[in-house]
Subunit: 338 residues, 2 copies
C-alpha cells in the first residue's frame, strides 16, 4: 500500500531529495525587472542568436541546463533522467533544447504549472529509488507564445488589464538523493478544476480556483495552517488571480495574504514595465524559483516555502470552440531542514 | 543511492504493480480492422455525439477510462493519480477528457510514445510508494490530428506510401500495488534521438532509431537477449520503421524480427484498409495494448512482452522551420509472473 501518501493526495518524501544546482536564463525585459540580480544569465537579444523565437526558446533551455549542471558540478551523463515541458505546441521548446543532451527524458505538460510538475516527478523518481540525480526544466518565450496563443506580434492588438505577459526565460534545477538542501519534502499534485472562466485574457481568474484547491488540500493533508510556511508562492496568478485566491482563503477565515507571493507579480515591476496583470508562462515560475526563491532559501531568508505553480490547460482551439478553461496547480514543499 | 536502477537507464520495480483493469474505445475504421474483437467499445460516429473532433477525442478518453475503472471494480475516487497526454496542442484531448474526473493529474507529452510514458510513471508512482492505484490514459483522433498536423481533411491531399494513419481511439489502464497481474516489471525511458529525418510523412524512419536505442539499452541493462520476451512490440513504426528497426538489430547479429510486432501494423489490414504504412498516434499503441496485448497475456498467449511505444517529437512549426525530427521510445516490460 502507498506508504508515502498522506490525506487525500499529498506525497511525503521519505528521504527528501536535495537541490544540487539551479539556474535561470532570461530575456531583456526580465533582466530589467526587480529580480534582475537573481538571474544567472540575461540576454539582450530575444532571438538569442537563433533564427526563430522557437529556436531561441530552446537556446534558453540549453543555457539554463548547462548553468544548473555546472553549479552542481555535474555533467549530462551524471543525470539519470530529465522531466521537462513547455507551452509550445508539442512541447518543442524543451524537446529541441534537450535534443542533444542524451539524458533519458520524460516530457510533461502542465501549462504554466510545468515547473512544479517536473520538480514533483523528479523528486518522486529519486525518492522512489529509481534515480540518483534528476533534472527539471521548463521554458517560455513571450514572442513564441504570443504568436501561438494569441495574435501575431505585428498585429499590435490591445491587451486588456487582466492580460499577463509571458516571461522569456528558462529555469532548471538538479535534484540529488543526497545533499545539503534545500530539500523537496512534500508534493501535492493538483486536480483539474474548471470554474467556467472563458476569457483567455483572464487566466489568473481561471487558475485561482485550482491554486485554492491544491493549497487547501495540501494544508489539510498535512494538518497545518499557512503558518507552516514562510512563503506560499503561486506561479502566475498575477494581480487578478492573486486577489481571488486570497479572498477565497479569507472567506474560510484563513489569512493567506500575509505570506502569499506570486512569481508573476515578483518578476516584473507593474508600474514601470507595462505588463498589465503581471508575468506568466512556464518560464515565469521556473526562473523565479531557480533564482530568487532558492537563492533566498540558501541565504536563510525563508526556511520553508510552498511552491505552487499554476496552469491554464486551454488551447486556442478549445477557446475558439467556446470551451471554458480547465486549470491545475501542483504544489511542491521545499525546506532547508531535511 | 538509486537502488532500483540497473545498467544505464532501466528502472526495476521492486513490487511490480499489477494491471487491475484496461480498456479501449475506438472508431469505425479501427473496428473494421483485424483486432476488432479485442476492442471494448467501437463507435460508428467519428464525432462520438459531440460537435467537434477535438471534443470527440475527449469523449473517447472518458469512455476508455470509465470502462477500465469498471473492469477493475473501482471508481474515480479510488485512483490516487492519473498520467495522461495526447497529440493535440496543449494536450486538450486528455485534459478535457479528465476535466470532471477529480483525480490528481500529471499531464505528460511523449507524442505517440505517451502510453508507455504514462504507464511507466504510473508504475513508478506505485512502486515508489506514493500511490496505491494509478491510471494511465492516452488518445488520438484521425480527424483532429490530420487537421492540426497536416492539412484540412477537405483539402484531400495525397499521402505518400510512407505516411501512416492516425488511429481514432483511446486506451486506459489502471495499475494497482497488489493484484493478479500482468505486472509492470521494468521501465526504460528513452533518450531523444535525431537521425536527421526531415520528412514529416515518414515518421517511422525518424522513430526507428529511437526504438533501436531504447530496446538495445533495455536488453543490455538487463543483460538479456530478445528471447527474454515472447513479443517485443513497438508503438507505431509502421512498415517502413519496423523494417529499419529489424535491420539495425540484424546488423548487430541479433534476430529481432522473429519476435517483433508493431501496433501500427497490427491494428489495420494494410491490403484492405488503405492506411499506407500502418497506424499511428497515441491512441494506436494504447488501444492495442489495452485490448489485444493485455488480453493475450491474460489468455496465456504471451508471458513476457516489451511494450515500446515510439514518438516523433516534431511540431508543424519545427517542420516549417526546416528542423529534423527528434524521436523517443519508452519501454515498459510486462510479465505474467511477478
Amino acid at each position: 500500500m502507498a506508504q508515502k501518501l498522506i490525506g487525500k493526495q499529498t506525497f511525503v518524501m521519505q528521504n527528501p531529495p536535495s537541490f544540487a544546482g539551479h539556474a535561470c536564463a532570461v530575456g531583456k525585459k526580465e533582466g530589467d525587472g526587480p529580480l534582475k540580480n537573481s538571474f544567472d544569465f540575461i540576454t539582450q537579444d530575444a532571438f538569442f542568436g537563433e533564427k526563430s523565437w522557437e529556436k531561441a526558446e530552446s537556446a534558453f533551455v540549453k543555457k539554463a541546463v548547462s548553468l544548473a549542471l555546472s553549479k552542481a558540478s555535474l555533467s549530462n551523463s551524471d543525470i539519470n533522467c530529465v522531466f521537462c515541458g513547455d507551452l509550445l505546441n508539442q512541447c518543442v521548446g524543451t524537446t529541441f533544447g534537450m535534443r542533444e543532451a542524451e539524458i533519458p527524458m520524460f516530457g510533461v505538460y502542465g501549462a504554466c504549472s510545468t515547473m512544479a510538475e517536473s520538480l514533483a516527478l523528479a523528486a518522486m523518481a529519486i525518492d522512489g529509488g529509481f534515480a540518483d540525480k534528476a533534472l527539471a526544466v521548463t521554458s517560455s518565450h513571450f514572442c513564441s507564445a504570443e504568436r501561438q496563443f494569441r495574435t501575431p506580434l505585428e498585429y499590435g492588438g490591445q491587451r486588456p488589464p487582466s492580460a499577463q505577459w509571458t516571461v522569456t526565460g528558462s529555469g532548471a534545477a538538479v535534484l540529488t538523493s543526497e545533499g545539503p538542501g534545500p530539500y523537496v519534502k512534500f508534493v501535492t499534485p493538483g486536480k483539474t478544476v474548471d470554474n467556467g472562466t472563458t476569457d483567455a485574457n483572464n487566466m489568473g481568474a481561471a487558475m485561482a480556483t485550482a491554486a485554492y484547491d491544491t493549497i487547501r488540500t495540501h494544508l489539510e493533508d498535512r494538518g497545518v495552517g499557512p503558518e507552516a510556511y514562510d512563503l506560499i508562492v503561486t506561479g502566475d496568478l498575477g494581480l487578478v488571480g492573486s486577489k481571488i485566491l486570497c479572498d477565497f482563503f479569507a472567506a474560510d477565515g484563513i489569512d493567506l495574504a500575509s505570506r502569499h507571493a506570486d512569481c508573476g507579480l515578483l518578476i516584473f515591476d507593474r508600474d514601470r514595465q507595462d505588463v498589465h496583470a503581471g508575468g506568466s508562462g512556464c518560464g515565469c515560475s521556473a526562473s523565479v524559483l531557480c533564482g530568487y526563491l532558492l537563492n533566498g532559501m540558501r541565504e536563510g531568508r525563508w526556511q520553508n516555502i510552498l511552491f505552487t505553480a499554476t496552469g491554464a490547460l486551454l488551447s486556442p482551439t478549445t477557446t475558439q470552440q467556446g470551451e471554458s478553461i480547465p486549470s491545475i496547480a501542483c504544489a511542491v514543499a521545499i525546506s532547508n531542514a531535511r
